[in-house]
């Protein structure tokens, strides 16, 4: 007869094994700013056509505030990475100099022009084949149907210790592999991306929000556990002529008021994309992602956000534990949409009386 105690022991051991046998603990705390780091790179505008002018800005910070911006060295990357290579750019762009780099200068912010051939380099336009050779494969889009011109940022630390950061500008290139009707529908429905904007940061205590005014230190108690909540613009899911936003389906013909100088929404924007599975133009909405940073204290989550399905909630929150020692805490919040748009803001919190 089977001994029931033995069976129970075996089952528990099995569960223990499965639950605990494989869990490493190396996640770390990316939210803690304990050294100089680039937390984000923003392209303004977020999306541009070949030849357009753009401005890149880095959120480069240190434990005690802003870091030395003159350390930053910017270059456009003008070469595609091998098809199966990992990383955002070819390794040829992760060097101090190289023929695939277009130098832009130094500082926290630089200006550039999107290369004219960016849609061939990084987009759906196939590169010109060599004579006698068959066609060349175009780049694959991301999950939002987007293509990106990368910009490389180098922080010189000395040879192999140099740090590399890659930012992007979403490029407007049209569709690859679609029918004429699909391309027309896409052109009518698609709106270029806008960078998201953080409307506010609030401290939430007992259900009540207290906005943190940028440049002014909000007070928190030592070791206090509180909720931090950020808001951004709530974007309409349907285009309405006269709402100030040139939405999907609206054109200068159908809604001159909104689309003569088209303005997008700075929150979770609706957009259309070409679904490669269904091979059809489909409506979607941006998901939003919030990255939290501070030079002290501890966040419960490193990142929070809203997926596409709950994008109507134009806010996100995180739990934060203040440090036990009194002092000023610097806080940075980066808001990203999934079409490459970036917004960020910095705040101060005063711990203790």
């Amino acid at each position: 007869m089977v001994n029931a105690r033995h069976v129970g022991f075996a089952l528990i051991a099995l569960a223990f094994a499965a639950a605990n046998g494989c869990k490493p603990d190396v996640a770390g705390r990316p939210s803690l700013v304990d050294s100089e780091r680039v937390l984000a790179v923003r392209s303004e505008p977020a999306e541009a056509k070949p030849g357009d002018a753009v401005q890149y800005t880095a959120l480069y910070v240190g434990p005690d505030g802003n870091a030395k911006a003159s350390d930053l060295d910017w270059s456009l990357c003008v070469g595609r990475k091998p098809l199966a290579a990992s990383g955002p750019v070819t390794e040829d762009c992760l060097r101090a100099t190289g023929k695939l780099l277009g130098p832009l200068g130094g500082g926290a912010s630089v200006k550039a022009a999107v290369p004219d051939d960016t849609c061939r380099l990084f987009g759906p336009t196939p590169p010109a084949p060599e004579e006698g050779q068959p066609a060349v494969r175009p780049a694959d889009p991301d999950t939002t149907g987007g293509y990106y011109q990368p910009v490389r940022l180098r922080i010189a630390r000395g040879g192999a210790d140099d740090e590399y950061i890659v930012g992007v500008t979403r490029i407007t290139c049209g569709l690859g592999g679609a029918t004429t009707e699909q391309a027309d529908a896409y052109a009518v429905g698609y709106r270029t991306n806008e960078n998201p904007v953080l409307d506010s940061l609030a401290l939430v205590r007992n259900g009540k929000e207290t906005n943190v005014v940028p440049g002014t230190a909000a007070k928190v108690a030592p070791s206090e556990h509180l909720t931090l909540r950020v808001h951004w613009a709530a974007c309409p899911t349907k285009s309405t002529c006269g709402d100030g936003l040139c939405g999907a389906g609206e054109t200068i013909v159908t809604c001159a008021d909104d689309c003569t100088m088209p303005v997008g929404c700075s929150g979770s924007e609706p957009y259309v994309y070409f679904d490669p599975v269904a091979r059809a133009v489909r409506p979607r909405r941006e998901s939003m992602r919030v990255s939290w940073f501070a030079n002290d204290g501890r966040f419960e989550q490193e990142r929070t956000g809203r997926g596409e399905k709950d994008a109507e909630n134009a806010f996100s929150e995180n739990r934060w534990t203040a440090p036990s020692k009194p002092g000023e805490v610097l806080l940075w919040v980066v808001l990203r949409d999934d079409r490459g748009g970036v917004g960020f803001a910095s705040y101060k919190l005063q711990v203790g009386i």
Partner: protein
Amino acid sequence: MMLRIRIAAFAAALLLTGAAQTFAQDAPAGAAGASPSAAPQRVVIPPKLVHFEQAEYPEAERANPRDVSVVLTIGIGVDGKVIELSVAQSGGAAFDAAATEAAKKFEFEPAQVDGVKVAVRIQYRYEFTLAAPEPVPVKTTADFDGVVRDRKTHGPLAGVTVDVDGVASVTDSAGQFHFADLPPGTHTVTLSGDNFTPTGTQETLLAGQRYDATYEVETNPEGIAPGEQVDFEMVIVDVPLAKSMAATTISSEQGSRVAGTGGDVIKVVENLPGVARASVGSSALVVWGAAGEDTRVYVDDVHIPRLYHEGGFRSVIHSDLVKSVELEPGGYGAPHGRGLGGLVTVGMKPLVNDGYHGSIALDAIDAAASVRGSVGDQFRFAGAVRRSHLDWVLKQATSEDVGAIVPIPKYWDSQLRAAWVPHEDESVEVGALLSSDQISRSVLAADPNETKSDGKDSTFDRFYLRYEKHMGDGGVVTATPFIGFDHSRVSTLFGAVPASLTNDATLYGLRAVWSGKPDEHIGVSAGIDVEVQDSTLRRNGSITTPPREGDLHVFGAPPSDQVNADKWNTTNAGLAPFVQADFSLLDGKVHVIPGLRAEPSIVRASRRVPAQADIPALGTMNESTAIEPRLAARWAITERIAVRAAFGIYHQPPLAEDLSAVFGNPRLGESKAVHYLAGTTLKITDAVSLEVTSFLSRQSQLATRSPLPTPLEAQALIQGGLGRAYGGQVLLRHDMTSHFFGWLSYSLVRSERTDGGSNQFRVFDFDQTHVFTALASYDLGAGFELGARFRYSTGFPRTPVVQVVYDSRRDSYEPIFGAHNSIRIPAFYEFDARASKRWKLAKDSELELYLDVQNVTNHANPEEIVYNYNFSKKSYITGLPLLPVLGAKLTW
């Protein structure tokens, strides 16, 4: 006093004949007799030859054959012994010597005179004749000899009744039995005796062939009262067929007792030489450094896509139906192909008419049942089913969502077999092999980009018809048509980044083989091996998800979010006639086995370029004919020492998954491998043997990634990869003796590949340079048995992260890699143990309770490298800790 006696009557008694030599002995010339006129008349009885020794025709004279006579004078003592010997008439020195040597051994009834034994001298004529060999009639029957031994002691068993289709023979004191002139075909052989349960098997005899079998039976163990019978399995030790050159075969009886296998016979393959250890949760079978998909798996003649269920906990065939499992890591013969790696053959137990039997088994992982029996004499059946419940068990045992951390597989399998045996030399079997696996898990996170889910479904069904006929001339014909349906779907969703690959395939196959023996020294197998696979596939996601061999990536990292999609279908058809001969030379000491396989094949893909707007798809077809010579040889230098070598060329069609115009290359053709191996076998004792094998496998035309940043359209994969694997393996094996069996296995294998466009070899992703396994099982008596297994293996190679780049768009750090596969996960070692107890419940029924403990020392074995968010720290995912699994099995 000596009498000279003429003994004319001698001739008839001494006339003997042989097949090649004839000796005629006339009455001795000049023999003296008593005078008929003498008085009083004496009663004289001449000596009588009672033992004749045949003289050999001298070897030196065979080149000049002739009839020669030698007359000998032989003195015979009163005891009948030869006491004097001389040549009276020479036939030549060689003939004289041969005749003299033989006559020394004559024995007589002494001569008598008036009732008194007396010594006499006679003359004896030896006549040497080297007769021309008479034509040997083609023998249309078979002889069947063998020996029955005790499985534990290896000692002969006397008094065992061996019955072949109603004709019985009883083993002698040496355990030997003999049947002469049996009709060719399949015969039911049953063994019965006082001390064990009668059992049976089937043997196939070929005309003109002598079949030597050794059966080992398990006599009643201690604690079993006389007269009671216990169930046991008969192990056929010596199969008198030419074996492949590097095969390792494990019987179901041994395989089910190996620690760490949970009683699963087929799981023992992981412990055989040449096989890399699969990582936890993996069901991949890496043999001699070949990729998992390069090793073909057959159940008898039916190709199946996998050997193990997901997670690697169980095989897909119930052990009760398995007779043996055989691994040929390379150099196999012409009957098989389409794989660059090894060959695993699961042999199913023959369906016999021996009553109804079955089993029920239960442990923490799954539950299983089997049954077999017969209806009348002609209809036989067997079936088995198994279903996992590990997911349910974990829910009962812990509140943690274990499945969110470790994917917990859900699976089931079933095998059904029915046979009609109208005659013992003819059978028709229909069967089904069914298997299904499912894995899914979801991990929620506050960050929508960190929300993950993945799932994997895979099923395969095989339905086959097997016809077997033993011809009157000793030939055997088998034909196995089958149809199969495979489905697999792998899907992941990492944040908003999807990836999925679905493959629905229909497989049509036929293997038809004739085996015969046109000559006493030549065996021939010829046949045809057909497979047609129609696949419909859909894939979307990143081109690097899932990663393929050679891709640089780190475990658990977010996939690339550059995505695409494709739908395509493929047809892969091959028709391979093959022939293989077995030349038996030098009294069977040398076997030379040449073979040839030719396989015209087509590979069709429905789309030669990615979908473009509404342009109709144009397909592509690739035709080729692979010629695959094979050659193997084995030389038994002595009864205990043999050497062997083999060579073969192998081709493998491209995977349907790789024929995508978006993710692969629809124009891919076949890959190629050449195997070379050599080795030796030393039988140290009757129970202990040592096998040493070295090998080299060269692969070419492998599908690899295009290295270009802008590859040509529909050429994400290119066919230029090279591979090589080389090394050796040692197997020191102790067969089952009275209480013990076990083996030590060590493999030294180096496997390397090149990446597309490069001739620079780097280490294969699944290379395990050193793999050592030691296992043993000991029968304590009274139904108790203990087993242990120790495994050591080199860790898998990995590529170091030497730098990082911060991707601001995705807010993630991405690795920059160093030299490809230049570091390794730390070595794996683990000690497993098994204890079991069997209780006899009633006649033919038994309960076994076992505790199988993996990782007894609770050693944390690194299985994979993981990094922190910016790759500044690394750690390891470790394998399963101490894992006891208690199980029970009831058989009847």
